[in-house]
Symmetry: C2
Subunit: 283 residues, 2 copies
Amino acid sequence: MANLLKGKEVVDKLNDELLARSEKLAAAGNPPTLGILRLGERPDDMAYERGALKRAEKTGVTVKQFIFDENMSQDELISEIEKINKDNSIHGLLMFRPLPSHIDDEAVRNVLAPEKDVDGITDGSMAGVYSGEDKGFPPCTAEACIEILDHYGIDVKGKNVAVIGRSQVIGKPVSMMLIKKNATVTVCHTKTENMASICKDKDVIIAAAGHKGTVTADFLSPGQTVIDVAINFDDEGNMCGDVDFPAAEPVVDAITPVPGGVGAVTTSMLMKHVIEAAEKVGA
Amino acid sequence: MANLLKGKEVVDKLNDELLARSEKLAAAGNPPTLGILRLGERPDDMAYERGALKRAEKTGVTVKQFIFDENMSQDELISEIEKINKDNSIHGLLMFRPLPSHIDDEAVRNVLAPEKDVDGITDGSMAGVYSGEDKGFPPCTAEACIEILDHYGIDVKGKNVAVIGRSQVIGKPVSMMLIKKNATVTVCHTKTENMASICKDKDVIIAAAGHKGTVTADFLSPGQTVIDVAINFDDEGNMCGDVDFPAAEPVVDAITPVPGGVGAVTTSMLMKHVIEAAEKVGA
C-alpha cells in the first residue's frame, strides 16, 4: 500500500503561511492582487478560474478579472496587458492560453512585465527556469510537483528521475527544477523507445504525458515515488491521471492521487507567486 | 577501432558552403560582419579569438574587434554594446565571458540586441533553445555537437543519450537540442550516482564535464557514439578531453578526437550564425 501524497495536506499548510504573508502586506497598504485575463468562455479556463478565485480568498489575495470577447484583436489585447503592466495595484497576471488562433502568442506573451509574470510565460521567466537563476517565475504546475516532493520530505539529490513529457508548461521546467535539485533526470516523450524499462529502474517518475494509461504496471517497481501530473478522463467520464493507479498503488512507495494531488497544489503556487511579487514591490 | 568523427571534415564542408553565402551577401552590399568584444588579455579568450579570425577569413566574414581595458566600467561597456546594436554594419557580437568580477553579467548580456546574439547569451536566445523555437541562436559549442552528429549521419531519434554536464553553455543547451531531435536524454552531473552504469547502456554519450578522466572504460560499450566536448590538459601539458581515449577507441563505434573534434567545429557555428543574421537583415 503506497503512501498517498495528497495535495490537500500541502495546500492546508501553504494556505496558513500565505494568508499570514498577505495580511502583513495588506496591513502595509499593499494587498497582493492577481489579475486574471480571459478571452471567451472556454470551460477548462473557467474551471481553473473558479479554483483560483477560491484559493485566492483562502490566501488573502485580491483578484481583478479582465474578461474579453474571444474575437478581441491582438492590438487591443496588447494594449490591455500594457495597462496592467502600468497598474501598480496589480502584482501578477494570469492570462489563459492557448489564445485564440488569430492572436500570435509569441508577440503577446512577452508584452507582460517580467515582474508580473506569475505564471512563467515570458522569455525572462523561461530563461530563469532554464538557467536555474532566481528570476521570473516557473510555471505553477511544474513547481507544484517540486512543492509536493519537498513537503513529503522526498529528497531527489543524486536520485534517478524519469520525467514523461517535454512540454513547456510541465515536462521541461520540472526537469530543469529537478536538475537544479541535483537529481539525475531522464526526459522521456512520445519518441522514447522502451519507456517502461527506462522508468522501471528510476527512483522517481513524474508522469506528464496527458494520456490515460501511459504508465502501466511494467513501468513500476517497489520503492518508487510517482507524481502524476495529468488530468485525463476515463470512458465513464471520471477524472484520472497518466498512471494506472490500481496497478501502481500496491507496488510503489508513494503516489499522488488524481484528483487530489498535483492539481490541488497548482493554484497555491500561483498565489505564492503573487504574494512574492507584492513583497518585492513592498521591499 | 572506432570511427573517428573528425571536426576537420565537418569544417571543410561548412567552409565552402558558408563562403558561398558570404560572397552572395557581399555582392549585395551586405558583407556579413562579426564584432568581437574583449576586456583585457586573458589567454583563453585570445586563443579563441585567433581561431575565430582565421575561420572568419575562410568563410568570408569580416571581423571588427572591440578591445578594452579589463577595468572598463559597466556603464561604459553597456554604452559600447548599445553602439554595436545601432551599427547596421555589424550583424553579430561575440563578447568574451566571464566578464571581470566588477561587472554584473546579468545586467550586461541582455543589453545585446537579440538579432545580434550569435553566441546565444541573451534571455531571448536561451528561451529559444529551451522552448525549441526558432528564435535567437544556440551556444556555438552545443550546436557543434549536433552538427557533428548530423554530418556523420548519426540519427538520435528514439536513441538513449547521456549528457555529462549541466552548464548553460553546453550541457543544458545540447540536452534541449537533442530532445528536440527526439532523443531520450539523461542529464548527468557531479551529483549523479553510478554515472558509469547510467552511461554504459546509452547509445550516445556527450561528455562535457570539463575534467580529464571523467569517462573511463566502465562507461563504455560497443556500438556507442561518444562526443567529447571538453578541452583539458594532461600532466604533460597535452590537450585532452573528458574521455579516456585509449580506453574508448578500441570499444566504441565512433568518437570525436580531442583536439580535432568538437572544438574545431565551434567557430564554424559562430560564422554560420553571423551569416544567418546578415541574411535576415538582407531579406
